[in-house]
């Protein structure tokens, strides 16, 4: 099933979404990412019981912070799927890609470029 997903998505692999910290998400935006989405296992299916629930909470925290600093919380999102659902992975990738394209580039990146 050699499915294609948007080429501008950089996949960062983690052993479990429970490993993803709010700081990882924030640093990505600080370094110029236009959007970040976390893809975890289906809720209730976590091998470590709570990993994906923890990730969801951290995504919410990041969202609140990004809203406060003016970057925009809608640039970060959590998705859940089962590891065998490649078509859904592609669907989410396209959806997120589309959403970020509509929002435009990370505002701090454009302001930084203007300042320079």
């Amino acid at each position: 099933m050699r499915l294609q997903y948007p080429a501008d998505i950089k996949v960062v692999r983690v052993p479990c979404t429970g490993k993803v910290d709010v700081l990882h998400i924030l640093r990505a935006f600080e370094k110029g990412a236009d959007g970040v989405y976390v893809v975890g296992c289906m809720e209730g299916d976590c091998h470590f019981n709570k990993g994906n629930f923890r990730a969801r909470k951290r995504v919410e925290q990041a969202k609140a912070i990004l809203d406060t600093v003016g970057v925009g919380g809608e640039r970060v999102r959590m998705y859940n799927l089962s590891s065998s659902e490649a078509p859904r992975f592609v669907e989410y990738a396209k959806e997120m890609d589309q959403r970020i394209r509509e929002l435009g580039p990370n505002p701090i990146k454009t302001k930084k470029a203007k300042a320079a």
Partner: protein, 222 residues
Amino acid sequence: MIVADKKPMEEIIQEVKDHSKILILGCNECVTVCEAGGKKEVGVLASALRMYFMNQGKTATIDEITLERQCDHEYLEEVRDRIDLYDAVVSLACGVGVQFMAEKYQATPVYPGVNTCFLGATEKRGLWTERCQACGQCILAFTGGICPISRCAKRIMNGPCGGSTKGKCEISKEIDCAWQLIVDRLKALNRLEDYEKIFSIKDWSTDRAGGPRKVQREDVQE
């Protein structure tokens, strides 16, 4: 430990928005345990402030340091050689740390990054509750290890009062009646005769009523 809560990010931004070289100073003690002012929270706040300033089109330096403690001279001395690099410090320590920092480095404004709440315990992750009001004259020996000063809304010494219903306090159904807890505990210890003793009026001069307090011990002074 001293329990603190996070200050809203908007409030911190208001505190520092006119500065451009800011040090975020965390504390490795109590505020780390209650997840309000440790190394992790320093990182999150620093990242958020960097993004805020970048989004405003301003150039700002936001550095991060987490000290072992901010309530001891020797640890605060660790930033002496760098403090002049900054035009503001946001201290994520409790109110003690913020003040000690401000006293030590007079020329640099220090802003609080947390709201210091009380002396309490971690009941579970994300839930901290008050256990001590530092009244300066501990009576736990007589009350079965449960403090009516910090846990009774009225701080009464001979309770429970008429507002105790089914073990809960009248101010909230979620708050245990401290005196009910005391009676239950004394019963479990087979010491109910202690409950019958009447406490005389408490000397509040060792509490805040006597003004700012100090503990001075010549036996350990140098």
